[in-house]
Symmetry: C2
Subunit: 464 residues, 2 copies
């Protein structure tokens, strides 16, 4: 092995200082570094100098206090599924791989909560929970770790019912940049005992410390569920149905939107013959009579809004088939342009602003050569365009950036946010001054108070 070239001047000292603690779990090998430097982002890779595999909170503490003393950047790494460059190491430093911290520490069915290490994936947790009749509801596309999901304040298809990571984390164990270990929140369902530190670390993308354990809320599996797929003449008709359903308090578990181009892509990819028109997938959950009542009411609302067609699943198999269509959306989109992966936009707006936001951005898209099918979590006002551009083509890249920048401008004008669930990382940093104004300086003050040497995931979210 050739001597590694380090980007950060303190990396060699950290390698020496940490090698006894971590042994073979500390690596400066090029391939390991490369594996930790890209994630699912469209940004050019930026690998770390070192990769450390931590196994305990105490080890994380020792790693951070060492790196803090040396001034070496530390970039927390879970499953590597982040898509805005959260795990990039643009200044070099140490990638702190937490995937081995994968123990489920406690499940309390009576209190419907659990405590897990940060490296547990949501899929793993739900497998472990199956026998209890409980589940953890945040349902996103990726195989992600719960620590990473908390750090980006992730959400997904069931947020309309259960909330996002913001709502479901009761407490955390966090290692601060100087190595101090703190516990935030707790197991009580609510507390008014001082500052809400839990929410400060949820969504901080590892810039304030490392989440090593999480206490999470769990839920009972609903007794009954019912799925339907509705087509509408336009986005506004679909959105009207969503708003009315929410106002009526229907027991929506998911309410997912796709646009005309997305439906065309799904038809092609799945050999389906759905109307090529905006569509909503809807899942209602609850007791059997509640679901039956809400289904009838939903159908009435959809009909009133001008629904073109309503496909109701009569069996669990039919429901699964309908959801397979929804889950195929990304692959179907990519098949519109083979070989192109695409990047996903992520704005979120007040729900009443969805049609306006979508109309305006589709007009922008139409002026470019980029295909951009749309799917979204309509109940939250959050949608994704998959921008199918070739990153090797500068002109297409410029057009994709133009679409994304315009989309964010429109969303902010409508009272929305540049990111509903993917986070800021490096990719959305440029938009935060417009979104937050003077509040961004307050975030910087907090960062400087908690991480005065600036070692934690530097240059993410904002620059100092």
């Amino acid at each position: 092995m050739t001597a590694p070239a380090f980007l950060h001047p303190a990396a060699a000292a950290a390698l020496a200082a940490l090698s006894q603690l971590l042994g073979p779990r500390l690596s400066a090998g090029q391939s390991v570094r490369a594996l930790h430097g890209a994630g699912e982002s469209w940004l050019p890779a930026a690998p770390p100098d070192l990769v450390a595999m931590a196994e305990t909170t105490e080890e994380v503490s020792q790693i951070l206090s060492t790196c803090n003393a040396l001034g070496l950047p530390v970039v927390p790494f879970g499953a590597g599924s982040s898509i805005e460059g959260q795990i990039h190491a643009p200044l070099g430093g140490l990638s702190l791989d937490l995937s081995a911290m994968s123990r489920i520490l406690r499940i309390s069915p009576e209190d419907m909560d659990c405590t897990v290490q940060c490296g547990v994936t949501r899929q793993r947790l739900n497998e472990e929970l199956r026998a209890t009749g409980l589940f953890f509801p945040v349902d996103l596309g990726a195989e992600a770790t719960l620590g990473g999901m908390a750090s980006t304040r992730a959400s997904g298809t069931t947020t309309v019912r259960y909330g996002s990571m913001r709502d479901l984390v009761l407490g955390l164990t966090v290692v601060l940049p100087d190595g101090r270990i703190v516990k935030t929140g707790g197991r009580a369902r609510k507390s008014s005992a001082g500052y809400d530190l839990t929410h400060l670390f949820v969504g901080a993308e590892g810039t304030l410390g490392v989440i090593t354990e999480l206490t999470l809320r769990l839920f009972g599996q609903p007794e009954a569920r019912q799925t339907l797929l509705c087509s509408f003449p336009d986005i506004a008709a679909a959105t009207t149905t969503v708003v009315a359903s929410l106002q009526c308090g229907l027991a929506l578990n998911r309410i997912e939107l796709a646009d005309q181009l997305q439906m065309q892509a799904i038809n092609a990819w799945c050999s389906a013959d759905l109307p090529v028109a905006p569509a909503l997938w809807v899942e209602l959950v609850g007791s059997p009579p509640a679901v039956a009542h809400d289904l009838a009411l939903f159908q009435e609302l959809a009909t009133g809004a001008g629904a073109l067609r309503q496909d109701i699943a009569r069996t669990a198999d039919e429901a699964n088939a309908l959801w397979r269509l929804r889950h195929s959306a990304l692959y179907a989109s990519r098949a519109l342009r083979p070989g192109i992966k695409g990047i996903s936009t992520d704005v979120c707006v007040p729900i009443s602003a969805l049609p306006d936001c979508i109309d305006r951005i589709l007009a922008v898209v139409a002026e470019t050569s980029i295909l951009a099918p749309l799917v979204g979590h309509a109940g939250d006002g959050n949608f994704h365009l998959v921008l199918l551009f070739d990153p090797a083509d500068p002109d297409e890249t410029a057009q994709a950036r133009h679409i994304n920048a315009n989309l964010i401008r429109i969303a902010l004008e409508l009272g929305g946010t540049c990111t509903g669930e993917h986070g800021v990382g490096l990719g959305k940093k440029a938009y935060l001054p417009d979104e937050h104004g003077p509040a961004l300086d307050l975030m910087r003050q907090i960062k400087q108070a908690i991480d005065p040497r600036g070692i934690m995931n530097p240059s993410k979210i904002f620059d100092l």
Copy 2:
């Protein structure tokens, strides 16, 4: 009027500096000061030196920048309903009365949200909302302002369904100690765009800045509701029923617990003949078939747990009559010892720990001469003992403190918190080191970063 005696050395300078801005809305009169120095707390009054009535966010900004330059403490004041000394001014300074900031700025029925000034009470907001079919659900005993409710992270009887102020505030306008005005959060239902500043100010009890505007989630009125009152042989049987109801996902709007002594007090006060045994008031909401289904299931669960008696309201009037019994609890308690107001404890524990926590504290109470009836929000694991002691009697006061201290110790041992919904203020400060450990130092670091001169509600939550 005699020249006022000021506790804080900078008060006279602030009086001079702010009198032009505020005119008659700035007062140093003894009676106004006295009205602003006690709240609903059992602590000795600690009036401010000055009282300012602000009418706009910009005025709040000018007041804070003036006081910050002078180093004068500023104590935000809403309705004066806080009960742990949050509005006390132990160091003197300026009470910032925000009750005149009472405009409802926007109601958006389609997005089910609104923006209000901080001095709007929850009752006022719900009156304004009546015509829209929407409502704001946080339901506590007091006539409180929404700014104050956010600042103490208040909750109440419907938290089991809708969450507390923590869950229902989407965004804030906050004036920082140096006068900067920041907006946190926004109108999107979710966002991953940077640090969660909203949750940092919710529950900060005015120690980090002044909340002047709030964007709040609203909900549609449920179509149907059903109330019942169940008696149980013991607290554990009641709690078992609560846990099972939550696991089954019953559409609980409220599930309120009272102990034997509380029921005896209610019988006496209301001339009722309810069983003198632990009881649960339950309200189910949703569509008519959902409520009917959940009512039957609840009754089955209660019967299985050994319920002694179940009174189901057959009409809205009967439901109101049952809830009137619950709402009489405080007055009924006080009537056990006429002339004594009592103070309310406020621990919150994991729900499965409720019977143990209650058994252990009632054993402590039994060793004293204090009467302490119990009511609680069983679905959250939060309960209150009303300690009926005479604050003029040192022995009784010592006994009441002994009960409260033991209750908090027991709650913390069981994984709970010293305050579920009342906040810390001055009253619970002593218990935070045990509850938070090293995390308390992190709170101090944040305080010092945001309020370096320490003017905002000093000596509340923790000492520096």
